[in-house]
Symmetry: C2
Subunit: 633 residues, 2 copies
């Protein structure tokens, strides 16, 4: 059911916590990433993204550019994600220079489009004949998807049609192949589905919807598709196993799926597209499939930090309840994709079970993905780090104890950038007469339905949220499940509004004030006994923030700490932390090490106070031990 | 220092616990393994070991046998290990048919020896030109080592010289190459070192000692040796990384080593050879290196079960204190190798720190390696198993929840067989006037120094050990470190003999009786806080046996059980167990699962009795959860 729609990004002007992050992305991340794409930085692996487009244009002009491609087969997608981030940022903070840079970039991309609408630098430069012969590995539809998303964002930001027209022409080319000519096929890496839905909402071009439906409804119908494709082609990118239908979500029609499997980013991008189409076309069967997949992820396969994809093998979902802390893969992009999926589920059904997870993923894994200075990024977000093991030994090599710089495969950094710069689309929603407040996000909100208000809050560190209404209407505000106790004050009057699926609905008039006070207590979290890695362990959280224990705050040793059962935790100043963030102090015992590797003597215990900090800031103060789940004494 | 020597295998005639195991090997394991080697079983991967020797003989006769080799490059070693097991078994239980089978096998092997003494079916059949060009991977010296060990055992068992002569000729060939011609090189997989020491003790041929010294003392001196070897050859077996000096223990002279690294079996076989040569030649520097390596393994890299080599990557030692229970590699052969190493350290220094570990490895990992019916084997011995994860998902695929049958790489099964059939060599030792009792092993002991006695005990389930002396002398009996309390009764008189390095020394006369009563209490074990996988956990043991909890005894769910702190454990009858073995019952709580994946509510706890069984019998009653290290409530 189409319940409401995502707002346009410029409906929300952030300040506060989100505003600071958006400024960081504007000031540091976007300029830095552009220099990378343009190969301006000497000491990091070259990206060549922009040069790839230039060389593709040269190839179209007939110049010899056989060696002109560099990078991953999906290198073009970095252009899409960066432009998308830049476009959203331009809406938040107009910037002529940045806009000029994007315009020039769009010109370069436009020149790389072939006469027939085809647009992919890898094939245009290297081998035109191989176009569309390797949907399994070659990411043509994936890269197109990211460029479509960028074109939509840039059009929304500037009203400039050029990029939108380029990508519309590209979609016509793809539609021609897969719909008009009815060529069998669907994306190895889903992404274009959700992009086509974005383009459809802007252009209302039915071809977009038709093409999206084709990809969604033919996926997995022929479970041998990739196998047969592989038999026909005589080349490979990585030698992917064409029969691993779990990895690539291609073993059954999507409407029948009930288990999240395989590569986690691919999975949630696919589910996002499915949920998108379900809401747009009121497709209940498709939505029901999405509900099953949502339930499978969030009730059996999700870390407390909102991370998903627990195994490095295939960057994939593992089996139910296999959620190891130290060897977690937990890719930043997968949690971003989980936010996408959540936001599209909200378009079908306003239920806090979606927004709660969206918030969990954002404030923990997604933010942890970026260093506080915006300069370094995690792909992998473990919940336990032991220097000497993490990032070093083979089983833990992926789980680095410190954020590295730019990667050869640069998917996560620009993904974080575009997510943060478009935060309003996740925080707020609207339909004809209602403003939906899915997340607490400080700033000014001006919806196209006329409702207008400011939101003032120090969230996630403050738990009072004040809405000052300029133009009234109906407010639908999520109360998180973690806040069983909460107070609502409407114009200084305590009220008890009705709650439906975790949202309170309140009619507000012009100049009203609405204050929500949430539960600020520190909570102890327990895990299902089915999670073999977490038996007997507890984790702390406060509001949406999951906390972790780092060596730097705990005498360089968190392994020997056990939290006291029923110990009273309290918030604590910690001058050692970045401004605004708040630590937790909790009574604990420090165990003395035994004499030797094993001992018959119980380890001596001494009382101590253990200090926890928000998970998302871990690894910002040097390499040290880190643990989310702690023993209880 | 040469302190004493291993006894000949026929000095000990087992009964009781060890006797039952030796009978099982005689009745089931040895015949079964011979059928495998001779490709008589239809439903398992063919071994081809015997056919390889036949085909090598044919190749020597000039027949075309290019396709006549099958199996691993070290396939010949299976012949060595099987014959060695059979030889020891013949000493325990004379058997004309088995002896005839071995004689015929020896004839086949002898025919496969080339004129110059070379003996390796892989190269004789496939490509003579490649001999000795790939010490890194080709296992020529490794396979020779196992055949030498077999020849020594068979000579000791039967007095027949044929096999001994074949292998002496083979050693001459190798000595010629590596000593006389002084060709650079040392074994990729150590093993021949300890074999040469065995042969030397029988033949007193100084070439054996000289060759062993060459391999030990040139190892790692040129750290680039394998790299240079690889550059010279134009073929490979597996594409091993020639520069991974950690994996193959080739990065520094062995006398300088202080960290156990790399492939665990290779490592402990090497250290065994080093300790062997140290005792034989009174080489204090070499022994000191062995002491450092011993300490590194047992104080930082050993599971409570005496398993070593914690990572599947390279079947190798991981870094210090990285001892994961669920992804443990913990190869059966590595624990057998650790017993070898311990037994050779005892030849340098009679200290229970060696015999305690030897016992820990045997009664836990080595015995667990074999199904109770002798028909199936574990290579990998995890300390935690969760069906659906263990043996299934990529990170845990090696850690199977059930013993599989024969493997393509069949190293462990015959290794277990030869260890059990030669148990006397580990349990007892002798020098001029002393009988060393390293392990408690029921049966008759008749040493070449004249001391003669019987040992009566139900160990490891009974804790009284009675020595009835027939011919007296000095008894040196180890009191395990786990038995702080013990009683010694000499001819009905309580005595308090002096203890030196964990051994009590008692002069006994003919017809004396000596009774040792050990501590039979159930002990709770704690691990160092440095072991990140074991924080807050405890394990139970009684005597040498480490216990584990299996689903079959605990309502199919051990993950939700936490043992009560200070709960009084007691031994318990358990009709569900194989005869003789004893279960432990311990007060515990069973946690109720929470509603959902995570919860703010502490998990409800209900009192229960949890049942533990000896680790070595796990996985004999169907696939189910298993855990050694438990939470404490």
């Amino acid at each position: 059911m189409k319940i409401h729609t995502q707002i346009k990004n410029d409906c929300y002007k952030a300040d506060g916590f989100i505003g600071e992050y958006q400024k960081l992305v504007r000031d540091v991340v976007i300029p830095y990433q552009y220099s990378v794409l343009n190969d301006e930085l000497p000491d990091i692996e070259k990206s060549h993204v922009i040069d790839n487009f230039r060389n593709a244009a040269a190839a179209i002009r007939g110049e010899d550019t056989k060696d002109g491609f560099y990078g991953m087969v999906f290198q073009d997608s970095d252009a899409g994600k960066w432009i998308e981030a830049a476009a959203y940022s331009l809406q938040n903070y107009p910037d002529e220079n940045l806009e000029k840079t994007v315009d020039d970039f769009v010109d370069i991309i436009a020149d790389a489009q072939e006469e027939d609408g085809y647009l992919n630098t890898y094939f245009t430069i290297k081998d035109k004949e191989k176009r569309w012969t390797n949907l399994l590995e070659a990411h043509e539809l994936y890269s197109a998807g990211h460029l479509i998303e960028a074109a939509c964002a840039y059009y929304e930001a500037t009203g400039k049609r050029k990029f939108l027209d380029v990508m519309t022409k590209n979609v016509k080319h793809i539609h021609n192949r897969f719909v008009k000519e009815n060529t069998e096929g669907f994306p190895g890496h889903p992404e274009i589905e959700l992009a086509l839905m974005k383009l459809y909402r802007i252009t209302k071009d039915e071809d977009c919807l038709e093409l999206c439906r084709k990809f969604i409804d033919t996926r997995g119908v022929n479970a041998d598709f990739y196998k047969l494709e592989k038999e026909k082609r005589n080349w490979t990118v990585w030698g992917n196993n064409a029969e691993d239908n779990n990895y690539q979500q291609s073993g059954m029609p999507v409407r029948k799926m009930d288990k999240a499997t395989g590569h986690a980013v691919r999975a949630v991008y696919l589910y996002t597209g499915m949920a998108d189409m379900a809401s747009e076309t009121d497709d209940k069967e498709l939505f029901t499939a999405c509900e099953r997949l949502w339930q499978d992820i969030t009730e059996r396969k999700m870390y407390i930090t909102g991370a998903i994809g627990s195994t490095v093998h295939g960057e994939a979902f593992s089996t139910d309840f296999d959620l190891p802390s130290d060897t977690a893969y937990a890719e930043t992009c997968a949690s971003i994709g989980l936010m996408f999926f959540a936001s599209r589920m909200l378009e079908n059904d306003v239920d806090r079970k979606y927004s709660d997870v969206m918030e969990r993923a954002f404030y923990n894994t997604v933010l942890a993905g970026m260093q506080l200075d915006g300069k370094r990024f995690f792909y992998v977000n473990p919940l336990e780090v032991v220097p000497g093991i993490s990032g070093v030994i083979a089983t833990h090599r992926h789980a680095r104890p410190q954020r590295p710089g730019w990667y050869g495969c640069a998917c996560c950094p620009p993904n974080v950038a575009r997510l943060i710069t478009s935060f309003g689309k996740y925080a707020y929603g609207e339909n004809k007469n209602t403003a939906f407040c899915h997340l607490y996000a400080s700033g000014k909100i001006e919806l196209s339905n006329g409702i207008k208000f400011t939101c003032e809050t120090r969230y996630p560190y403050g738990f009072a949220v004040t809405y000052k209404i300029e133009k009234g209407g109906k407010m639908a505000i999520r109360i998180p499940a973690w806040s069983e106790n909460y107070t609502v004050i409407h114009n200084k009057r305590l009220i008890k509004p009705k709650m439906t699926k975790g949202y309170i609905y309140i009619d507000v008039a012009d100049n009203d004030t609405l204050i929500i006070i949430l539960d600020d207590s520190i909570r102890t979290n327990y895990a299902s006994t089915k999670v073999h890695d977490l038996t007997g362990k507890v984790a702390l959280s406060r509001g949406p923030l999951v906390y972790c224990f780092e060596g730097v705050d705990n005498d360089n040793d968190v392994l020997s700490i056990a939290l006291k059962k029923n110990g009273k935790a309290y918030v604590a100043q910690n001058d050692n932390l970045p401004c605004d963030s708040i630590a937790i102090s909790i009574p604990a015992v420090r165990k003395s090490d035994c004499d030797g590797l094993y001992s018959f003597s119980p380890l001596a215990e001494n009382d101590c106070n253990a200090v926890a900090v928000p998970y998302y800031i871990w690894g910002n103060r040097g390499e040290n031990q880190m643990r989310v789940w702690m023993e209880e004494a």
